[in-house]
């Protein structure tokens, strides 16, 4: 490091820690607020998962009661979905990265952004407090009439919580959509955007279109629960299937809300560390939009055993399988991007490549359960549990980890320790597969999900799953120690540690308030690696002040 560079690094202003506890409207502060808050809930949701797995270590319900077991898995799913994956990927990474990547100084509506975040802490505390009155215990799907019969107070809090978190999600989606469409620097057309922005565009459309329908379902369910109407209660002439349709009209797109941003993160990470242009930029970009659209018309594949008529099942089966096409386009493009590249196997890249391989497993089992006859066989078994965890853990969470390793230096101005990063990766990858791979077998053999007790013949594999889950729990320790230690005392990061070409790497780490001193002008595409120009641009981002990116030359 040259002296000038060192001087440059010292000039970087680090956001005072108090700022992170305030109603800040800076998108970077809000992004980190989201990331840290939701990571806390990842730990809480993880603790609930460990309790579930401990109970399942033996066939009898000897660790917790059946009722407690129901509460545990219900709250586990609720917290992981609504308080960890969705807020981290959209609120966390979206907030931190989108304005930087499109050359904007902030989001379109900074105050709305802060409000969207500050809805989350009180709501999540409310949800946790429901443990004192008996939390919701009808599963995160909260199907009536079951949800109307158990833990009324907890269920009411759950409904309120979901409506509030949905509102926060709509606000965030609105902000992203407007920001991406209207706040880009003039020299950046839609087709010059980094692919993460395309993914966020597709995600925000889903948040805006699908979430209100969930709110509608929650309002109806709330009336049934608290006022005594009979919308979903067959005893009073209502129809519980209508709830399932409304619920899945949101909750299937929610799967894409949870995976599309991770697709975007991976599309950023792979080319940087493979030092190759992304393969099929437009194919990846437009397939995000295609997934977003198709994601809205496949919801009833969750209801193949709910008395859905045959002609409707046929439609939803075919529509669901069609989604494999745009998804496959992405996977092939990522593989082709990495193929023959000069791979830098750092922690971010390891998690990125693990994402692709694990997501393919989840995607393939997804095509299997899309087929009606197969789904009737495995519905409500551990095969579905295995499938969804390969998508949401092997996919979304690996994507989140990859993103954290990739942008930690940009967010904090400090480098993470690579060795402990790799230890973390190995433990997570191995633990994840030990925990969830056997569940495929258990499901095919007929072990039901959501029941505290099971046939003793499943005992051996369940012990394996439980051991894997403990390894997963331990694997978060090196990550947390690494993150906290590095944030305080890690080596300082320069503005472009991975030699990336997207705009966030042109500003100091951490970026100053309002990001860009001047509106940046695009000089190179986001993935033009391996060109002589890329060398110049990367060199410019590392030299203070970056001459190639400054509008008026000093000579």
């Amino acid at each position: 490091m040259t002296e000038a560079q060192a001087h440059h690094l010292d000039e970087v202003e680090v956001t005072p820690w108090r700022e992170y506890f305030s109603f800040s409207t800076d998108h970077k502060v809000i992004g980190i607020q989201y990331l840290v808050t939701s990571f806390v809930f990842y730990l809480i949701g993880g603790l609930l998962a460990e309790l579930v797995r401990t109970e399942l270590a033996t066939p009898a319900s000897d660790f917790v009661s059946r009722e407690t077991y129901n509460e545990l898995f219900t709250m586990h799913a609720t917290i992981m979905i609504f308080l960890w994956i969705i807020p981290t990927l959209t609120g966390g990474f979206g907030n931190f990265l989108v304005p930087l990547m499109i050359g904007a100084r902030d989001m379109a509506f900074p105050k709305l952004n802060a409000i969207a975040f500050w809805i989350i802490p009180p709501t999540s505390i409310l949800l946790l407090l429901s443990f004192f009155v008996g939390p919701a215990s009808a599963g995160w799907t909260s199907y009536p009439p079951l949800s109307l019969m158990t833990n009324k107070a907890g269920e009411a809090i759950w409904i309120l919580g979901v409506i509030l978190l949905g509102t926060s999600s709509i606000m965030a989606g609105l902000n992203f959509l407007v920001t991406i469409l209207k706040m880009r620097i003039p020299s950046m057309t839609l087709n010059d955007m980094p692919l993460f922005c395309w993914a966020m565009l597709a995600t925000s459309a889903l948040q805006l279109i699908a979430t209100p329908v969930l709110s509608g379902a929650m309002v109806l369910l709330g009336f049934d629960l608290l006022v005594g109407t009979n919308f979903f209660n067959p005893a009073g002439g209502g129809d519980p299937i209508v709830y399932q349709h409304m619920f899945w009209f949101y909750s299937h797109p929610a799967v894409y809300i949870m995976i599309l941003p991770a697709f975007g993160l991976i599309s950023e990470i792979l080319p940087v560390h493979a030092r190759k242009p992304i393969f099929g930029y437009q194919a990846i970009a437009y397939s995000s939009i295609a997934i977003s659209f198709l994601g809205l018309i496949v919801w009833a594949h969750h209801m193949f055993t709910s008395g859905t008529p045959d002609w409707l099942r046929m439609f939803f089966m075919i529509a669901t399988m069609v989604i494999a096409v745009p998804t496959g386009i992405k996977v092939f493009s990522w593989v082709a991007t990495v193929w023959g590249g000069k791979l830098h196997l750092c922690s971010a890249m390891l998690f990125g490549m693990a994402f692709v391989s694990m997501f393919v497993v989840g995607g393939l089992s997804g095509v299997m359960v899309a087929s009606v006859p197969f789904d009737i066989h495995v519905h409500d078994t551990y095969f579905v549990v295995a499938h969804l965890h390969y998508v949401l853990f092997g996919g979304s969470v690996f994507g989140i980890y990859a993103g954290l390793y990739q942008w930690f230096p940009k967010m904090t101005g400090r480098m993470l320790n690579e060795f402990w990063g790799k230890v973390h990766f190995a433990m997570t990858f191995v633990g994840f597969n030990i925990c969830f791979l056997p569940m495929h077998v258990l499901g095919l053999q007929g072990m039901n999900r959501r029941i505290a007790e099971y046939d003793p013949k499943f005992a051996a594999l369940n012990v394996v799953c439980t051991i894997g889950s403990y390894l997963l729990a331990v694997s978060t320790v090196p990550f947390m120690v690494n993150a906290v230690w590095s944030w305080i005392a890690g080596p300082k990061a320069n503005s472009n540690p991975w030699k990336g070409l997207t705009l966030e790497w042109t500003v100091p780490s951490p970026p100053p308030v309002e990001n860009f001193e001047e509106d940046p002008v695009l000089v190179i595409g986001p993935y033009d690696y391996g060109t002589p120009k890329a060398l110049d641009v990367v060199a410019a981002t590392l030299a203070p002040p970056p001459p190639a990116l400054v509008g008026e030359g000093s000579e």
Partner: protein, 208 residues
Amino acid sequence: MQGSTADQNQADITYAATIETSEHHSEHPDLRLFGFIVFLVSESMLFLGLFVAYFAFRVVTPDWPPEGTDELELLLPGINTIILISSSFVIHRADTAIKKSGDVKAARLWFVITIAMGATFLAGQLYEYNHLGFGLTTNLFASTFYLLTGFHGLHVFVGLLLMSAVLWRSRVPGHYSETNHFGIEATEVYWHFVDVIWIILFLILYIL
């Protein structure tokens, strides 16, 4: 420079942003109306979900309305519909007044008339509620009726609050002008939205 900043700061902010622009930044664009319309698209999905649920309930119920429950009367809701649709034209006069000539006084007058019409609509609805032969939990037909009209009524009420807020802010001279009238415009767009929702509701609840 903040897009979501409340109206009363608008004047200062434009000034501050202009100063900055002259140095090196482009101004934070005013995206509030665009954002508001995107929000209404999202909001319309809430109603769409409830409408579809309504039809689903209707399809699974053999008699709609069930025996013993009276058919809905058309006279009062008909008058109410005419009042609400007319109010959309009235509020548009306010928008025209502020955009063409910056005439805050005229805009205020049209807003007061719109508030009166909206309040009449709500009063009519409450009157109808009080004279119906069924309550919220009587049967599925009754529940859907009250829920849909109540949800819409809530939106009308929010519209009245928005208009009152605009009236309150417009007491400051120069707060709204030919070029700066987001509050008036957004309220108008919202009111048209509430109106369109009512037309659909009226058709599916009373006519179909």
